[in-house]
């Protein structure tokens, strides 16, 4: 610090320049970038066009009782297996509804159908589809059945008889385990469709078994009908203890592989052989079968599904007894 008589504070110093400099630094600092952008020429455009399906491809469809994702997840490896072992261009396609599935079989859009026995019976009836194999489900069941479920805290409905007057949500009018078998059970117990306060079917494409369970759990419907094993699909998303099974239907033939009418029998035979060659004792095959929720695929024919055909007819007759104007099987077709 200068001292003495000659010292005078210099008041001419102006901080303007410093402030401006710092301000510029501040503004400049806010413009920093952290990435390098990859240039894309958005002006080079063309219309997209998907490749048309090959004429010689073999379409494989799984009845959409679950979502497409589940269908894909369960069967895409099996489809790959078929592709590899038959030399055929097998592709999995995804109809949205049971009806569409049947219709596509009838239209020849689905060559190999994997469906429940009820659908098969109708497809055989309507479109001359023919069964050539059936599956043995996990647990070794060659047959399967349906279940009547209620919410665990529902004290009013504890038996099949209690279902009278209740609101019933079924999977689909064409569902075997999710509707037809349950309807047969109710008919056996003297409960007719008109005895229910409401019979409804799960909305939308796919995922119908899950939707029934969730709707009952939500209290939207009093009872639900699903095929046995459907609860396991939701086991990781709901607490199984919250659902109570109040009745089970009788055993009926399991799911069936059918070839559309007009499919080259040799192709059917190649596919059937490949499917039936899957051996659960082989690790690779077991993985494919397990993912498709099967234990084995065995040869079958149309006669094996007569019990289902019989049940359908019974239901149709009961329906006619009440409503003679109904023509569609089960009276459930739109």
């Amino acid at each position: 610090m200068p001292t003495g008589p000659h010292y005078r504070p210099d008041s001419r110093f102006k901080p303007t320049a410093v402030i401006l400099l710092l301000t510029l630094l501040m503004l400049g600092g806010g413009c920093s970038r952290d990435d390098t952008a990859h240039p894309i020429d958005f002006s080079q455009r063309q219309e997209i066009s998907l490749a048309a399906p090959a004429d010689d491809r073999l379409t494989y469809a799984y009845l959409p009782q679950f979502s497409h994702a589940v269908s894909f997840q369960r069967h895409h490896r099996l489809v790959s297996y078929l592709r590899e072992n038959t030399g055929l261009d097998v592709v999995q396609i995804f109809p949205d509804t049971f009806d569409e599935h049947m219709r596509m079989v009838g239209q020849g859009k689905i060559d190999i159908s994997f469906s429940n026995p009820f659908i098969y019976v109708m497809m055989a009836h309507d479109y001359c589809a023919r069964a050539f194999a059936r599956i043995i489900e996990r647990g070794g069941h060659e047959r399967f059945r349906g279940e009547i479920i209620v919410r665990a805290d529902n004290q009013a409905i504890r038996s099949i008889a209690d279902c009278r007057g209740s609101r019933w949500l079924a999977v689909d009018p064409f569902s075997a385990g999710g509707y037809l078998y349950a309807l047969g059970l109710f008919l056996e117990n003297g409960i007719f469709p008109e005895d229910f306060a409401e019979i409804a079917f799960a909305p939308g494409p796919g995922g119908k078994q899950e939707k029934v369970i969730l709707a009952v759990l939500a209290g939207q419907y009093d009872i639900g009908s699903v095929r046995e094993g459907a609860l396991e699909v939701l086991a990781d998303r709901i607490d199984p203890a919250e659902i109570r099974v109040i009745g089970r239907t009788g055993w009926y033939p399991g799911w069936v592989y059918a070839a559309r009418s007009g499919l080259d029998p040799q192709i059917t035979a190649r596919v059937g052989q490949a499917l039936m060659a899957l051996d659960d004792s082989q690790a690779a095959d077991r993985e494919i079968l397990s993912q498709a929720h099967m234990t084995a695929i065995v040869a079958s024919n149309d006669e094996e599904f007569d019990p289902v055909r019989t049940l359908w007819n019974q239901a149709l007759e009961k329906r006619r007894g009440c409503r003679g104007d109904e023509t569609a099987p089960g009276g459930l077709r739109p």
């Binding site: 020429d41 958005f42 080079q44 455009r45 269908s71 949205d96």
Partner: protein, 640 residues
């Protein structure tokens, strides 16, 4: 203070600026720096957060779409796929595009109008094992975050979702944050500078008060200093601080400084008063001792440890024959002033041993070569380690005293000799008278041709010589009668010179006589005084022997109370060792038979009889000078 030239001019100017300016600048700098640092950190954080949020949002949107589009892809439900991407486009305004690809990368549906940009198709691919992939793309104008999310069924990828989100929204948000911070910075600077200005003004005004008070103190004003304005009442603080003698601890540092300053001022005033008193006492003491030093008739000196003179008083200068102290101080040593070096060494050794000498008789050598007898007392000052740092001493001139003592001794001796001589002379005078009478009687009775007459005349002559000696002895012993009349010394001297001039001319001796015409007559025996003058002139002629000069002065001495007669010659002078004896009877340097040794003794007796003094001074080569002082007025005489 000079600042290094290499400093920037701004820095030099900054350091020369006032405290107020510095405080303001400091506050601005601190606030700006803080804001800049905060802004930089915040911008980074915000930018990262925004980008991260942007990415996460894009990833979430893509993943959500992927989760919802699986069934539609599998079913190749283009309507649903289109609905899905349209829905997601509607959820946000910064999405540039959305499209869905199948497992082979083929575009199933998209939101572009006018065709699909083909380069975009493979620009971002995500494997099935990865949840998402984000890539920054640009069309040259804007940057786009491209998000790819796989559509998985289990572990199998059946397609992928691609979304394009514009980045400019992130940048715009970041810029908004920046502008907010910038506005905050400006506001902070304004507020802090306002506050700082007020604080600095308060601070500097109080410092300036203190500065003014200090300047007034330096100018010699001793009233209480002005207190800076403060919440603490100044008068109370000052009063308490001043009264207690220690500063009040209330208030801030400036207030405490002011209090301390007050206390310091009071303390300084007390010290100044005490100092003034001490100074007065010291000055008085200094004056007293300086006066003693300056006015002392004795030589007083101070010398350093090496014996070199540091100070000497005027009496000492006079005694040593110097006019200026500078000729001695710093140049002369004490030992060098003493005439006898051996004696000097002995004295210094004694001081070294005992620390002092007291009343040691020794001789000083004056500047003109004379010696002065002194009585020396000297002390040495020592440091704790024994080293002598200073000598102090006092020397008393005892030359005159010693001379008086010697004269007394000599007078006493001469008086004894006079009484003895007078007794002998009285006893011899009468028989000599008889011898002379009978001799003259026999001469008269003897025929002129008788042989006895010659013998008798020889007896008569020698008897007369003896009688002359006896008369001289009686004159020396003042036993002869003195008839005092009014004597004109000039006339007496002129008469004597006239008698002896012829003889002087024969010896080729010039004589010069100077007379003071103002010299009055005095009472005395003119004949005896002539005899004294004659003795002195004859002595001078004999001392010169052949060729020389005699200078006679007759006048008044310095005091004007005595007549002074000097007779000086340019002969060999009187050796110092015989000066004490030359007035003794029968003392002579002449060969036996050529002098009686009574001339100067008789002269001494006559001058003593007149109440005066006679002394001899000088030595070769200046010759001898006899000085006779005679009182103008003797006891009982009226002034002439």
């Amino acid at each position: 203070m000079k600042w290094p030239k290499r400093w920037p001019r701004v820095a030099r100017r900054l350091f020369r600026s006032s405290i107020r300016a510095k405080i303001n600048l400091g506050i601005i700098a601190i606030v700006l720096l803080s804001v800049i640092l905060i802004a930089l950190a915040t911008s980074q954080i915000v930018s990262h957060a925004l980008v991260s949020e942007h990415r996460n949002r894009g990833i979430a949107l893509a993943a959500n779409l992927a989760a919802r589009s699986g069934d539609a892809i599998l079913a190749l439900d283009f309507l649903r796929l289109k609905s899905l991407i349209s829905e997601i486009m509607a959820t946000t305004d910064d999405m540039l595009y959305a499209f869905i690809q199948d497992a082979e990368g083929q575009v199933l549906t998209h939101t572009f109008v006018g065709g699909f940009p083909i380069q975009l198709q493979a620009a971002n691919q995500v494997p099935a094992t990865q949840r998402s992939s984000v890539r920054l793309l640009t069309d040259g104008r804007e940057e786009i975050f491209d998000f790819a999310a796989p559509v998985l069924i289990g572990d199998t990828k059946i397609g992928q979702i691609r979304l394009g989100l514009l980045r400019h929204k992130v940048s715009a948000t970041t810029r908004e944050v920046w502008w907010a911070i910038f506005a905050f910075a400006i506001l902070s600077v304004i507020i802090s500078d306002t506050v700082g200005f007020a604080l600095a003004r308060n601070l500097t005004s109080r410092i300036r008060l203190l500065q003014k008070a200090t300047e007034r103190m330096l100018e010699g004003h001793r009233e209480p200093a002005a207190q800076p304005p403060e919440t603490v009442p100044a008068a109370k603080t000052v009063a308490s601080g001043a009264a207690s003698g220690r500063p009040s601890l209330r208030g801030d540092e400036i207030q405490q400084l002011a209090d301390t300053f007050e206390s310091m001022t009071a303390a300084i005033e007390r010290y100044i008063d005490e100092l003034a008193k001490s100074k007065a006492v010291l000055a008085k003491s200094e004056t007293k001792y300086r006066r003693i030093f300056e006015d002392s008739m004795d030589l007083i000196f101070v010398a350093d440890g090496a014996g070199v003179l540091l100070d000497i008083n005027p009496a000492g200068l006079s005694l040593l024959g110097y006019d200026r102290a500078d000729d001695l101080i710093g140049t002369k040593r004490i030992a060098g002033l003493l005439q006898d070096r051996v004696e000097a060494e002995r004295i210094l050794a004694e001081i070294a041993a005992s620390g002092f000498v007291r009343d040691r008789e020794c001789k000083l050598a004056t500047r003109d070569g004379n010696r002065v007898e002194i009585l020396l007392s000297m002390t040495a000052r020592r440091r704790p380690d024994g080293l002598v740092t200073e000598y102090e001493g006092i020397a008393k001139d005892i030359t005159h005293h010693r001379q008086m003592l010697r004269q007394l001794l000599r007078a006493d001796r001469l008086a004894s000799l006079g009484q003895l001589s007078a007794g002998v002379a009285h006893e011899i005078n009468n028989p000599l008278g008889l011898i002379l009478g009978y001799t003259q009687f026999l001469i008269r009775n003897e025929p002129a041709s008788s042989d006895k007459v010659e013998d008798l005349r020889t007896i008569e002559k020698q008897t007369r010589n003896c009688k002359k000696i006896v008369e001289d002895l009686l004159n020396f012993a003042r036993q002869t009668g003195t008839s005092k009349t009014r004597v004109n010394l000039r006339e007496s001297m002129e008469a004597v010179i006239e008698v002896i001039r012829k003889q002087l001319e024969l010896d080729n001796i010039a004589i010069q006589a100077h007379y003071d015409r103002e010299l009055p007559d005095l009472a005395g025996d003119a004949e005896k005084l002539k005899q004294v003058f004659m003795n002195l002139l004859i002595n001078a002629r004999q001392a010169i022997h052949k060729g020389g000069r005699i200078v006679v002065n007759v006048g008044l001495d310095g005091s004007g109370q005595q007549a002074l007669v000097t007779v000086a010659d340019d002969g060999p002078g009187v050796p110092a060792d015989i000066r004490e004896k030359i007035f003794d009877p029968f003392f002579t340097t002449k060969p036996t038979g050529q002098g009686t040794g009574l001339g100067l003794s008789v002269s001494y007796g006559i001058i003593e009889d007149h109440g005066g003094t006679i002394e001899v001074a000088g030595a070769s080569p200046s010759g001898a000078e006899f000085r006779i002082r005679l009182p103008l007025h003797t006891e009982g005489d009226a002034p002439a």
